[in-house]
């Protein structure tokens, strides 16, 4: 919400430094994102150099056809000569003048200068030059004023604008008056009554307004005006709208916007002559109905949309946007002013469906006080009469029973207990009173403009808390039962991260959303923000492959990346989410398998590998562990030789032997023996080792393949696998006689299961 300070001062005496006000509002009300100076700088007496002038003479410049040479009375001993490029004035006009030395809002510093041989001792100003509007068609012609009058006394030349971020629960702050009320409460200042006093009506013409849906539209104030002159608004009005961030359009439209900004109740004006049947009906849209809104778009309406209709058809999308056919134009003379109230949810639903959000809908969605419509009508009426020369000739105010002020039980001591700071009850009731609350014994009555937000005791507590927020001390909960430890999975995850970092991997984060297509069984977004982020991923590896490719393109060396994140698999009501670790590394199968073995070892787990298969991987160099795939990537997946793995954390952590049980490997010596067997080529080393372990029994400490040999004397289709064995007992020193039968069992098992021939 943009709040011009000059406008604010209509309602409350803002005299404190603005920076301090900004800080106070930021803490207690809503963040003041910026305090911006608008218009002419008021520093170093600059404002004094802007004066009212009276043009005494104006004639063509002797040396320039397009310039005027003027003599301007500025209330000084002698009139000044000023060269001017505009022709929309003549002798006798009252104008705005900047004297030499003045700095304009655009930063230009004026000085006395010579224009085509004639001295120019100042500048006659247009509205644009002092940021009063974007109108630079000519200079400003002012009403008759004494020459020399400081311009700032008659025009809003210099202003500051507070940019306040208003939270969704405070639609009352989407108005200048609402912000003034807040400031008055914070600083214990007097607050002016709300703006808008009804002029006496000019006639009492009947006006037919019917509300078919009082739940959707609890109130509709319609007022009829005749003999309206539609033209540009006066400069003060335009300046205020501009400062508050709205574009001036015409006086009638500007007045509705002005009243909305002042009080927070959006208004609408119809060209009465275009309304058929001379009446207004508030109803839901009929099947198949359409409406062309002010922005020129034809809107297909749904039966849930709330409409303003005349005797025959819909003329406005209630609370969101008016219709094009009934909008105010230059030819409009009779105006129907709408000051209504709309229920938020229906408006939100329609605005969502049509993807149409406006200043009006933004306020209605948050809930506007139904009591406000009358006051907004008064302010707009006053201005239509004063500014647009309108005659007010008729009124209807149709409404359901207006809601009563919420009556809330309140215990000041409950507030103290929730806040952790004692505030004497008198002080609590005092600040509540300044915000419009009234005490009613053990209860408080909330003001109507807070009726949606403040309905419970805790809501009242918040009012006290926000006023005293800076005084609230810093304490910690007095804990009785709580304990902070990482879970086993969290501890193992950290170990996993650290292990991979130790192995030279860099951790990366990639988006959990992927382009549509390649994976099956996905959960996809019906309304993605980009094709790249459409489907919840079922694999981590494709993201890492892309990251690796980008790094190759960027010239990186020794690429090794990992990520730990979730994948989203098919599930019942919700996706089956698994946390996984995936990695990609330059190098072949041996390297990546070594890495996965190291990861298992870091987790105190024993890996087991069997042949695996996956289209992304090399058909001959892919293994599977119970937790997932490990292998060399298929060159079609990524050019070059790359190892990759993707493992589910749950099965990985399930096999962790942490905490490790101590084994006595020191007291008695280890007996080492090597064994080499000739087996058929297709027998896998893993199967041999598994058989060795099974046959050997508890004394076998280690069984590791250390050599695979192929040679002529073995014949083709046969290989020799050498396995290093180590035996140890925690109870005694093993002799060769102890080991011999174990070795025999091993040899026997290998011969039986694989037809292995012992070579040594």
């Amino acid at each position: 919400m943009l709040v011009p300070v000059s406008w604010l001062r209509d309602y409350v005496a803002v005299e404190m430094p603005l920076a301090e006000l900004g800080e106070r509002l930021s803490v207690a009300t809503g963040v003041v994102a910026a305090i911006e100076a608008r218009g002419v700088s008021d520093e170093l007496g600059n404002l004094d150099l802007f004066r009212v002038g009276k043009v005494l003479e104006a004639a063509k410049h002797p040396n320039a056809d397009r310039l005027q040479l003027c003599k301007v009375d500025l209330g000084e001993a002698e009139a000044r000569q000023i060269v001017c490029g505009a022709w929309n004035f003549g002798a006798g006009a009252t104008v705005a003048v900047a004297l030499p030395g003045a700095v304009l809002p655009n930063g230009l510093e004026l000085d006395e200068r010579t224009v085509r041989g004639e001295t120019s001792n100042g500048m006659i100003l247009s509205e644009e030059e002092v940021q009063l509007s974007s109108d630079h068609a000519g200079i400003m012609v002012l009403p008759e004023l004494a020459p020399g009058t400081p311009l700032a006394d008659v025009l809003p030349l210099a202003d500051h604008v507070l940019d306040i971020e208003v939270t969704g629960n405070r639609p009352d702050l989407l108005s200048i008056y609402g912000v003034a009320r807040e400031i008055a409460a914070l600083y214990e200042l007097e607050l002016a009554p709300p703006p808008g006093i009804d002029p006496p009506p000019d006639a009492d013409e009947p006006l037919s307004i019917a509300i078919d849906d009082l739940a959707g539209c609890p109130r509709y104030v319609g007022r009829l005006f005749r003999d309206v002159t539609v033209c540009a608004s006066p400069v003060w009005l335009r300046a205020r709208l501009l400062a508050a961030g709205m574009r001036p359009i015409s006086n009638v439209v500007d007045i509705t916007n002005y009243a909305m900004l002042a009080l927070g109740n959006p208004l609408h004006a119809f060209d009465w002559a275009t309304l058929r049947g001379g009446r207004i009906v508030v109803r839901r849209a009929e099947a198949g109905e359409t409406l062309r809104t002010l922005d020129g778009v034809d809107r297909k309406l749904a039966p849930t949309d709330l409409m303003i209709a005349d005797g025959e058809r819909s003329v406005a999308l209630a609370a969101i946007m008016g219709g094009e056919e009934t909008e105010i134009g230059e030819a409009t003379t009779d105006v129907l002013l709408e000051a209504a109230n709309f229920e938020p949810f229906g408006i939100f639903r329609t605005s969502e469906r049509l993807r149409l959000r406006t200043e009006g809908s933004n306020r209605w969605e948050k809930g506007v006080d139904p009591h406000l419509a009358g006051q907004a009508a008064k302010l707009a009426t006053q201005l239509l009469v004063e500014v647009a020369g309108a005659r007010w000739v008729g009124e209807a105010d149709v409404h359901a029973e207006l809601p009563e002020r919420p009556s809330i039980p309140y215990r000041p001591e409950r507030g103290d207990a929730a806040i952790g700071l004692s505030t004497p009850p008198a002080e609590q009731y005092g600040l509540l009173a300044r915000l419009g609350f009234d005490r009613d014994g053990e209860r408080v009555l909330a003001p109507t403009w807070r009726a949606r937000d403040v309905t419970r005791e805790i809501d009242v507590v918040e009012e006290v808390a926000r006023f005293r927020l800076e005084d609230v001390p810093f304490t910690l909960p007095t804990r009785r039962a709580m304990f902070g430890t990482l879970s086993r999975a969290q501890q193992l995850r950290r170990r996993l991260e650290d292990a991979l970092v130790g192995l030279g991997f860099s951790e990366t984060y990639t988006p959990s959303l992927r382009p549509a297509g390649t994976d099956s069984g996905q959960w996809s977004l019906p309304e993605p923000i980009s094709v790249e982020l459409t489907v919840l991923r079922t694999l981590l590896l494709p993201s890492l492959v892309e990251a690796a490719r980008r790094n190759v393109d960027a010239g990186a060396e020794r690429i090794a990346l990992f990520e730990i994140a979730r994948v989203y698999l098919a599930g019942d009501a919700l996706p089956d989410e698994h946390v996984r670790v995936a990695g990609i590394v330059e190098g072949g199968f041996g390297r990546v398998r070594g890495i996965v073995e190291a990861v298992y070892r870091a987790l105190k787990a024993e890996p087991s590998f069997e042949r695996g298969e996956d289209e992304r991987f090399h058909p001959g160099k892919t293994a599977r562990t119970p937790a997932g795939l490990v292998g060399e990537l298929h060159p079609a997946t990524l050019e070059g030789t790359w190892g990759a793995f993707e493992l589910d954390l749950a099965p990985l952590f399930a096999v962790s032997q942490e905490p490790v049980t101590f084994e006595d490997v020191v007291s008695f010596p280890l007996v080492r023996q090597d064994i080499a067997v000739a087996v058929a080529e297709e027998v896998e080393a893993g199967a041999l080792v598994a058989a060795v372990r099974e046959a050997a029994g508890p004394e076998l400490r280690e069984a590791r393949v250390f050599d695979v040999y192929r040679g002529e004397q073995l014949g083709s289709g046969t290989k020799s696998v050498a396995i290093r064995l180590a035996f140890q007992s925690p109870e005694r020193t093993l002799s060769d006689d102890d080991v011999a039968p174990i070795r025999e069992r091993i040899v026997g098992a290998l011969a039986e299961r694989f037809g292995a021939e012992i070579r040594s």
């Binding site: 803490v27 969502e352 918040e462 991979l500 990366t508 959990s512 959303l513 790094n551 960027a554």
Partner: protein, 331 residues
């Protein structure tokens, strides 16, 4: 044999030796098989002479050993000096990995809260509308319920917009006291810019116990902010609005770049917004079957990316998501 003469000759020969070889020569000359002293020893017949000569032989041998060691060490040093390398040359290239800054910050957050006695949770990311919005007391018109702000899978399922749903599950599953922090990915339908990414990480804390106050929330947040940003940071609290907390506040930390004077980083306010917080709304307690008169609590949430960006002065959030080793290897 003149023992005294032999001794003085031998010792001075050893003393005079300049290399290990010369010591060896002297050793052979005086203690070798054909030398005078061993010859004499072999000829000895009486015990006293034997002891005297043996002592002499030992003294010569010890002297030779000592001299040899002295010279050996000097020679080794001389040789090692010749093996001198350029110590300014790089060493062997060993693989060095890097934890992502988000993980580094995540661990800091975890450790800060473990120290306060909180549990750490990492729960599901796809949630029902009931858990993501309804039970958290989002009003029907709240902007977050719009598919413009939130990723919906369909009418009842969303990518969670905050980790709070995890807190609802916890409060339904167990009796207070509960002190927990949820950390994980959340999703908002924002276009990708330097400051926003539609996927980011949040840490959200929840404390539910008897007699928890707004002052406890202020104290806890100040502790955590200082743990993350340094003990000298000022922490300010502003009133705010969230559906699931009442009163609601937002913590700001004094700007680390300008120290609060105002600069581009803090948009000239001197403060950096850190997230949202507040006292658990009684409606949330009612939604999980807890009596709001008996229990009170606070909740807060902040972004890990934002924390990482502020800690490391990373201007563009996209740098955290691109997996570029030039970036990752800095951390």
């Amino acid at each position: 044999m003149d023992a005294q003469a032999v001794e003085s000759q031998a010792l001075s020969a050893i003393e005079a030796a300049a290399t290990v070889d010369e010591v060896e020569e002297a050793r052979v000359r005086f203690l070798g098989r054909k030398a005078e002293l061993p010859q004499a020893l072999r000829a000895v017949r009486d015990r006293e002479t034997g002891m005297t000569l043996n002592a002499l032989r030992r003294r010569i041998a010890e002297s030779a050993d000592a001299r040899e060691e002295e010279l050996g060490r000097a020679e080794l040093d001389r040789r090692l000096r010749e093996e001198r390398v350029d110590v300014t040359l790089p060493g062997d290239e060993l693989p060095v990995g890097h934890l992502h800054p988000i993980t580094q910050v995540r661990r800091m957050v975890e450790d800060a809260f473990l120290g306060l006695g909180y549990e750490i949770r990492d729960d599901r990311e796809v949630e029902t509308v009931a858990y993501n919005f309804d039970k958290l007391a989002f009003e029907p018109t709240h902007a977050a319920r719009s598919p413009r702000d939130t990723f919906f899978l369909d009418e009842t399922r969303v990518l969670r917009t905050e980790t709070s749903a995890s807190q609802i599950h916890q409060l339904e599953e167990r009796e207070p006291p509960v002190y927990m922090v949820s950390i994980g990915r959340v999703y908002r339908r924002d276009a990708i810019t330097a400051t926003r990414y539609p996927i980011f990480h949040q840490f959200e804390g929840l404390a539910v116990d008897r007699g928890i106050t707004l002052a406890d929330l202020k104290g806890t947040l100040r502790h955590v902010m200082r743990a993350l940003y340094g003990p000298k940071r000022a922490v300010r609290f502003r009133t705010h609005y969230f559906p699931f907390t009442e009163p609601s506040i937002e913590p700001d930390v004094s700007c680390g770049v300008c120290g609060g004077e105002g600069c581009r980083t803090c948009k000239y306010s001197g403060w950096i917004e850190m997230g949202g917080a507040g006292m658990v709304d009684p409606r949330v307690f009612e939604n999980v079957g807890l009596d709001p008169e008996a229990w009170s609590g606070f909740a807060f949430g902040c972004g890990l990316e934002r924390t990482a960006q502020l800690r490391h002065d990373i201007p563009d959030i996209r740098a955290l998501w691109e997996g570029d080793l030039r970036v990752l290897r800095q951390f």
